[in-house]
Structure formats: C-alpha cells, structure tokens
C-alpha cells in the first residue's frame, strides 16, 4: 500500500478534514462523529475507514463502543508545521491583495 499517497488523498477531502478537526482534541464514537454532519451515516463510516487505513485515526474498543482517536504520531514536529501554516496565510493574503487591487480600480 502506498501510504504517502493515501494520506495525501485522505486530507484532500473536505469532509475528512472536518472529521480530523473534530477529533484533534477529543476521541469520539462513529455515531457521535456522524451527528456532526448532514451526510449519510454510511458515508461518514467510509470516511472513517479511509482515515483509519492511512493511520490518521486509531480505533480503540471501550466496552461495546469503538472510539476514534486522532493519531498525532502521523504528524511531524511543530517547526515543520509552521511552513504549511505560513503558506496557507500567504495564499490568503495574496488573494486579499488581488481583491483589493481590483476594488481600487473600480
């Protein structure tokens, strides 16, 4: 399995990004996760499966329930994360500049 490509694909989907965001600071059951989305439950299950397969999520059995955890080990050190964060804002601010330059011309 090409793990890199899978992680890449996992994060490319906005619903899966929302799920990751939801699980960053808490673990939840599939039902609790699904209740945050208008999407059909089986669709959410499919997303959870993909995220689990590429190890962005871990499953843990607690009694009868399965809880999903975000797997921080998949993430690198914080310093390496500043660059993508910076690029994200740089892109937004470039857009701001473009929007306001056009606005000025009008």
């Amino acid at each position: 399995m090409n793990l890199r490509r899978d992680v890449f694909q996992a994060i490319a989907d906005p619903t899966r990004r929302s799920i990751l965001l939801l699980l960053t600071t808490q673990s939840m059951t599939a039902g609790a996760i699904a209740s945050n989305f208008d999407t059909a439950r089986p669709t959410v299950s499919k997303h959870l499966q993909i995220l689990t397969e590429c190890e962005l999520l871990r499953q843990e059995q607690q009694g009868r329930e399965i809880y999903y955890h975000f797997n921080p080990n998949k993430m690198k050190e914080i310093a390496e994360f500043i660059e993508p964060f910076r690029q994200m804002w740089d892109t937004k601010f470039n857009k701001l500049e473009e929007v306001m330059k056009n606005y000025k011309k009008e």
Binding site: R4, I11, A12, E80, R86, Q87, M88, F93, L96, E97
Partner: protein
C-alpha cells in the same frame, strides 16, 4: 527574496504572531477585513454576519458539495478604523477553545502597509495542535493549493 508573510511561534508560548506586508494602503487592507462582501472574496467563505463595530459579532461558514464543512464565529471587542481590530475566534463543532486575536494595521507608505495578528490560545498544546492542522483555518482553500501544502508535509 524575503517572505511577505511571516509566522512567529516561540517554543513554550501559547501565542503566535502572523505578520504580512501589503502593496496596498492601510485603508484598503482594513476594508478587506471590515466589509463582508470583500471578506468573502479573499477568505473564500460565506459571511453570515459581520458587525464591524465595538461589541459587534461575526459568523461565517464554508460549504463543500452542499454540506457545511467549517463554521466559525466571534465577538469584536475593539474596532478602530485603519488601526486595530481585537476579536475572539471560535471554530464550531470542534473542541478547540476560543482564541483571542489582536489585529494591528499600520501604514508604511501611502501605498504599503503592515498587518500584525497576535493570536492567544488557551494553552501551548492547543496552539501546537492548530499549527499541525494548517487546514483548520484554511479549510476552504483551493483544492490544488491544499494538495501542494499537504505534499510539502511529506
């Protein structure tokens, strides 16, 4: 070439600073933040509410294929035209606690300006978690742009 956007996140501190220099007069940068129609265009989100005044509040949401995938809101505490906005920022449906943001707009020349955003988090851990998810605040960014960012993580 010097980068136009800079991030400063010191180890062991629960804050971070974003600095950007614009080829725009300070009035236009401030306007991009205070007028809903303009804010929508550059943030790529839908503004539900934007009360640009002291004690005003704001809310926005981003949809993808008909589903809302990201919602955020906050309250504006200080609003001084072309100078500063102090506000809270909260992502809905996540466990991230509210954060406090100080935006300072500074004129450099008649045609250039600098924006400094200081963000205070509830804890160092929450700051670090947010940094690990660059898409948390930019969830709506262009698809291929996101792919570039994700690729660079590997």
């Amino acid at each position: 070439m010097e980068e136009k956007t800079k991030i400063h996140a010191e180890d062991g501190k629960q804050e971070l600073t974003i600095t950007r220099e614009f080829d725009l007069p300070v009035e236009l940068v401030f306007k991009a933040y205070s007028e809903a129609e303009l804010f929508e265009q550059w943030m790529g989100t839908k503004v539900l509410k934007l009360g640009s005044q002291k004690h005003g509040s704001y809310a926005f949401e981003t949809s993808y294929e008909g589903n809302v995938v990201f919602k955020a809101n906050g309250v504006i505490h200080e609003f001084v035209e072309n100078e500063k906005i102090t506000r809270t920022f909260e992502m809905e449906n996540t466990a991230f606690p509210v954060q406090l943001e100080f935006l300072e707009f500074k004129k450099l020349t008649n045609a250039t300006s600098r924006l400094t955003i200081q963000i205070i988090f509830k804890s160092i851990e929450f700051r670090d978690q947010l940094l690990k998810m660059p898409f948390a605040q930019g969830i709506n960014m262009a698809h291929n742009r996101l792919q570039e960012v994700v690729s660079s993580l590997k």
